[in-house]
């Protein structure tokens, strides 16, 4: 279709407008959210879809796991509620892991937008609810029924009115009903805000529907992706990674084919389904694997059905990476987050000068809870290890990748639960040595504040398999989990922090990039001066002797000293 100059310009303006509309939708969600996980950690997503379920634009806030997975969700809603059955004032909801974003904790709300009586678009938004009933935190469920309440796709609002029965059922099945309902209403408000903004745009540009605009966005995005993929050599690029998981590590393989303007990534390896809740619905596997690819290929092209379609992911049906109902999936992020580094591993073979060392990957979340006693609580404190070293930059210390979440302030977490952080400091010598050093992990110590034990849902990764370096860079330090008393504590599983003890986690460092002996000696000296690496490591890993006079200013960190006696 040929557009006049005015139409072509209008398309440009409207595309930008849609991106700001979904941004506004996400911001509304953050402002109305009852959950620190949503507002401080950004664990949410928001997007606009065509009437046939194709995503036109998505907010860039949020985590990749929601975002790509949500791109498919509206299609599932349409399968449950055919297009002609939607009415103005309807709002549909689900937390089905295979429809939404991979576990029961994510609630997805879909709202149709009508113009002159015709359905012209859907808004969808998703956020993480801390408690959805069932066995609570962790991955101990043996099937999805253990993991909490599951709401199939259904209309929660009709003619703008909430269904009181659905609300009663929801409230009766979770531990913190106010929080859940508050969050559901926040999702509804976010979609409402998006709808209003969209209708304003239609008025301004005199649009009856979004058909032409969708075509314009999809054409441009598809062409953009083809051009981005053309910067890679054609061929097949393989990699493999050992992943801790829970209990026995598994080996996952990836084979990437670059051909004819598309990228296919086929996952394989030891993918036996797991008896516990670490299985990954395919939507979530796909999300993180595709995200890893897109960080290198076409990162500036907005996500939509067309740009996502240029990268195709596959995993064997029924495997741990393509779990079948009713597999337990509560902690699907443990394995899911590793898919980004796995995809980057293939790309490192295709474009070695663009791909960083491995990241610490899966978040080092402190899931803390108590379900009995006077003050039950359930908090999720996001924390991270170090990022991989980049081809011409050191890795970022204590920074999440691939997840896009941000940490909740210690002061906020301590208000939300009877816990006391005893320290949170960078972890020296944890960044993988290299011409460019991997990012440092951190040491976090947390204890009960009220004299009662606290349950921890541990699922820490990269404890036995570190983040690997690339192009001659060394591996980052693996993570360590322990109790300060020296009592045993496993990296995975639900365990208590005794009332008189504290949990210490040392998060993993990122992998290095390039031969460490090529690192500029003055950078090594500065790292020593700042206490980021020890003099011994400078000599051992970099072959650099840092004279004591240069170390002098290492007045540092009283934090490196043992914690105060208590």
């Amino acid at each position: 279709m040929t557009l006049t100059a005015r139409q072509a310009i209008a398309m440009q303006v409207m595309w930008n407008r849609l991106l700001s509309v979904v941004e506004e939708q996400a911001q509304t969600l953050i402002r109305t959210s009852f959950s620190p996980v949503t507002r401080d950690a950004g664990d949410l997503s928001a997007g606009i879809f065509t009437p046939d379920g194709l995503m036109m634009a998505q907010a860039v806030t949020g985590t990749p796991g929601h975002v790509n997975a949500m791109a498919r969700s509206v299609g599932h809603f349409l399968a449950a509620i055919p297009i002609n059955d939607w009415s103005e004032g309807d709002v549909a909801i689900t937390n089905d892991p295979w429809i939404g974003t991979g576990h029961l904790n994510d609630f997805c709300v879909v709202t149709p937008v009508f113009r002159q009586g015709r359905l012209i678009a859907f808004f969808a938004s998703t956020t993480h609810i801390v408690d959805v009933g069932g066995q609570g935190i962790g991955f101990d469920g043996r099937d999805v029924f253990h993991e909490g309440i599951r709401i199939p796709v259904l209309r929660f609002l009709q003619q703008g009115r909430p269904d009181a029965h659905v609300e009663q059922i929801l409230r009766a099945n979770v531990r913190f009903p106010d929080q859940l309902m508050g969050e559901v209403f926040a999702l509804i408000a976010a979609n409402e805000g998006g709808s209003r903004a969209l209708l304003r745009m239609c008025d301004e540009f005199g649009l009856d529907d979004l058909g032409v605009l969708a075509g314009f966005i999809f054409d441009r995005s598809a062409a953009g992706m083809r051009a981005a993929i053309a910067t890679l050599p054609e061929g097949r690029f393989d990699t493999a990674m050992r992943i801790d998981l829970v209990g026995e590590p598994i080996e996952v393989t990836a084979s990437m084919t670059v051909k004819d303007g598309t990228i296919s990534l086929d996952l394989g390896g030891e993918l036996t389904p797991h008896p516990r809740g670490v299985n990954v619905p395919f939507c979530y596997t796909e999300a993180y694997a595709a995200f890893g690819v897109r960080c290198i290929v076409g990162p500036d092209i907005p996500n939509n059905a067309a740009s996502l379609d240029a990268v195709r992911i596959s995993a064997p049906e029924g495997s741990i990476l393509n779990a079948r109902f009713p597999a337990p999936v509560a902690s699907r992020h443990i394995l899911g987050h590793m898919m980004a580094d796995l995809a980057l591993g293939c790309l490192a073979a295709a474009a070695p000068d663009r791909v960083p060392g491995e990241h610490s990957g899966t978040l080092w979340n402190l899931r803390l809870a108590r379900s009995d006693g006077a003050r039950p609580f359930n908090v999720l404190c996001f924390h991270s290890g170090g990022g991989g070293a980049r081809p011409a930059q050191d890795g970022l210390a204590a920074t999440a990748y691939p997840s896009g979440v941000q940490a909740i302030p210690v002061e906020v977490s301590e208000r939300a639960a009877p816990i006391l952080y005893r320290r949170r400091a960078l972890r020296p010598d944890s960044g993988g040595a290299g011409t460019w050093r991997g990012g440092l992990g951190q040491v976090i110590e947390v204890a009960p504040r009220d004299g009662s034990p606290i349950e921890v849902g541990a699922s820490f990764q990269r404890v036995s398999t570190p983040a690997r370096g690339r192009q001659g860079g060394q591996d980052g330090a693996p993570g360590v989990v322990r109790l300060s008393s020296g009592r045993p504590f496993k990296a995975a599983g639900r365990q208590p922090i005794p009332a008189d003890d504290s949990l210490i986690v040392e998060t993993p460092g990122g992998g290095g990039y390039g031969n460490p002996h090529k690192r500029a000696p003055e950078r090594v000296a500065q790292d020593v001066r700042r206490g980021l690496i020890t003099p011994a490591a400078a000599l051992r890993d970099y072959g650099v002797v840092v004279p004591e006079v240069l170390q002098e200013a290492t007045a540092v960190p009283t934090d490196a000293a043992p914690p105060p006696p208590r």
């Binding site: 109305t32 960080c295 105060p564």
Partner: protein, 690 residues
């Protein structure tokens, strides 16, 4: 009373002299190495020009980017940080996140205090303000020794939960005052008593970092003024849009960081009050940025978060967070120098990258080759080459056509002029979009508001922005070129104290509320007592409320209710406001108070520095310009008139350009501009009643 206002900007220092309603303005180049020199020289010139004796000056008002520049250029004091032991890496760990999701190569802002200058203090307070581990005197001595050895000349102190219980910070400060009497100390419980250790720490570090510099600068300035013969008190503009004493500024210099934009907002507020517009959008578009500020009922709103030194300009999360009261405004990277480009998906983007002053837009002919908004405006006929910058800069139209018509037009698949139109449309959309999103956050729709345009590029795009927002009235004030300095002349002396204090709304204890409010009041009064009569001051209380469990608060004004009925009334107002902004109310969730804040404003004599006297009659014949029209694809004839030649009551119908030395107002077809008796230009649709 004769008053002088000076605003030091990056390139120019603006000066405005108010001699009892007679306004004289001037601009001198900023002298970055010793900024007071430029100010003093400019003041001397302007006094001579106005024939005013230095001794007659009654008040000297000042705003400066000194604090901002010190942070951006990392030229502050050697600063040490004392934090609760175990948490001294907080400035580096921050919030552990990537502010740009798909960017594997991002960098975070370097902390103002490097690791070797951060010291842990053994003490601990919990979230309720209870002492978990007391602060021992020996510990203060130990840390003081480390601080002394470090050679730091400024110290920031940020202890966990000090917003709830400041005792340990105060105890440490008392100790340091004896042990290190010559070092300036900034306490987080005074600088920013708000929850969130990273943000509070960052704010406190920035305060300490700029404190010695700002304090010595202000004392040099006062000395220089005395040498000039000006004995007048000096007041300093703060980011919240209020004037403060030099002593306050020296204690809390981080609060000066946005003084320039705050001045612009105060100007807009004064215009809104004068013209009787309850709902006005201030739109300031310059060379690299556009700033948008909402003025409701004659006042801008305040917020308590700001970011300085963003690694990626305008990218939220890429800067150092500062939690201080600031005039709430949005700033985006859209100005005359903003560069247009097409991304990998064929999407046209304008800014935030800017061609700056050097090389500047391609049409400056100084070697710039990338297309900018100014180049597009020139091609569209909005800028008249002969009058640009008062005719001092010759513009090269061919260079603009080459820049816009090159790779950019190819990627868009459009000829040169439509490509220029696309740039203008996209930049106007970006600005309108920022305004719309910002208004939506506050539950406002800008349709029916008034747009106040100032800054060099605002008049070129005001009509386009207004149309997108459903705004039907645009005002161009007189003297907009030195807007911030004039804003200082109309700003009040005031001080705001905001503090986190969590409590359920139901059963709010009158005694504890009274205690918190009294402490806040005393702090604000201390900061203002040297400036005027506190008995005659206005107190404006605000309270932050939210549903328990939410993290975003709604700030509500607090009427002077009896304390017994306070909770009930607050619940009603909160629910109404929540519903207006966010829709459905969550059921059965308790409401809680999260913070209190107080602004005390001293009464000021009303002054009139906004008006000018327009020409008595048309003083020059209008000329002709050619404006590009996208629908016909041709340049169409338009009227070209001089603003100085517009008489009071005079009107100009679009299509037309109304030009003055530093800006041009584009009047599209169907709209008409009128000049009122005081020199304000008001642009409306011709169909709309005046």
């Amino acid at each position: 009373m004769i008053r002088i206002a000076t605003d030091i900007g990056g390139t120019f220092t603006d000066i405005a002299l108010d001699a009892g309603g007679r306004l004289i303005t001037g601009k001198v180049l900023t002298t970055s190495a010793a900024p007071e020199q430029g100010v003093l020289q400019g003041v001397r010139q302007l006094l001579a020009e106005a024939d005013v004796a230095p001794g007659a000056v009654g008040l000297f008002l000042h705003g400066t980017t000194l604090a901002t520049n010190a942070v951006i250029e990392r030229k502050g004091a050697r600063t040490a940080l004392v934090m609760t032991e175990g948490f001294t890496d907080t400035p580096e760990i921050g919030r552990e996140h990537r502010f740009d999701q798909y960017n594997l190569y991002l960098e975070k802002p370097a902390p103002l205090v490097p690791r070797e200058l951060r010291f842990g203090l053994r003490e601990r307070v919990d979230a309720d303000g209870g002492v978990v581990e007391a602060l021992a005197q020996t510990e203060i001595v130990r840390v003081a020794d480390l601080l002394r050895e470090s050679g730091a000349t400024a110290i920031a102190v940020c202890l966990l939960h000090s917003y709830a219980n400041p005792a340990h910070e105060e105890q440490l400060a008392a100790g340091l005052a004896q042990l290190l009497p010559d070092v300036s100390v900034s306490l987080s419980c005074r600088v920013s008593p708000l929850i969130g250790e990273y943000e509070r720490c960052s704010t406190t570090c920035a305060n300490a970092y700029v404190q010695p510099l700002v304090a010595s600068y202000l004392s040099r300035m006062q000395e220089g003024l005395r040498d000039l013969g000006i004995a007048a008190p000096v007041l300093v503009m703060m980011s919240e849009g209020a004037l403060a004493s030099v002593e306050t500024a020296a204690q809390l210099p981080v609060r000066l960081i946005e003084s320039g934009p705050a001045g612009g907002a105060m100007l807009a507020a004064a215009v809104a009050r004068r013209l009787g517009r309850d709902r006005l959008v201030a739109f300031d578009m310059g060379g690299t940025t556009a700033k948008i500020c909402l003025i409701e009922n004659g006042r801008p709103t305040q917020e308590s978060s700001f970011e300085a030194d963003r690694v990626y300009r305008f990218k939220k999360g890429s800067g150092l967070p500062l939690r201080i009261p600031v005039v709430e405004l949005v700033e985006i990277g859209a100005g005359g120098g903003s560069i247009a480009r097409v991304d990998g998906a064929g999407r046209l983007l304008v800014g935030p990258e800017s061609a700056g002053a050097d090389p500047g837009p391609a049409c400056y002919g100084r070697g710039g080759t990338r297309p900018t908004v100014t180049d597009a405006d020139l091609l569209l006929g909005r800028i008249t080459a002969a009058r640009f910058a008062g005719g001092r800069l010759a513009l090269d139209r061919d260079a603009a056509a080459r820049a816009v018509g090159g790779a950019l037009a190819d990627a868009l698949g459009l000829p040169v002029d439509p490509s220029a139109a696309a740039i203008a449309e996209v930049v106007e959309e970006a600005m309108a979009s920022a305004a719309r999103t910002y208004a939506a956050e506050k539950g406002c729709d800008l349709g029916g508001w008034t747009l106040l345009a100032f800054g060099g590029a605002a008049g070129l795009h005001a009509a386009g922005v207004a149309r997108r927002l459903g705004i039907r009235e645009i005002v161009l004030p007189p003297n907009a070129g030195v807007g911030s300095a004039i804003g200082f002349l109309v700003a009040p002396a005031a001080f705001t104290v905001k503090r986190s204090a969590f409590a359920p709304l139901a059963g709010l204890s009158p005694a504890s509320v009274a205690a918190i409010r009294q402490a806040i009041r005393e702090e604000a009064q201390t900061m203002l007592q040297s400036l005027g009569d506190l008995d005659d001051a206005e107190e404006s209380w605000m309270v932050d409320l939210r549903y328990s469990g939410q993290g975003t608060e709604i700030t509500l004004p607090l009427a002077p209710d009896p304390i017994e009925t306070l909770a009930d009334r607050l619940r009603d107002i909160f629910e109404a406001e929540y519903h207006r902004r966010l829709g459905l109310l969550p059921q059965g969730v308790p409401i809680e108070v999260a913070a209190w804040s107080l602004t005390i404003t001293l009464r000021v004599e009303p002054t009139d520095v906004l008006a000018t006297r327009p020409a008595a009659a048309v003083t020059a014949a209008p000329g002709e310009a050619l404006l590009y029209d996208l629908d016909t694809g041709t340049h169409q004839a338009a009227t070209l008139a001089e603003r100085a030649a517009m008489p009071a009551g005079g009107a100009l119908r679009g299509p037309a350009l109304l030009v003055e030395d530093h800006t041009t107002l584009v009047i599209p077809p169907g709209m008409a501009a009128r000049c009122d008796a005081e020199g304000f230009i008001v642009l409306r649709s011709e169909g709309d009643a005046a």
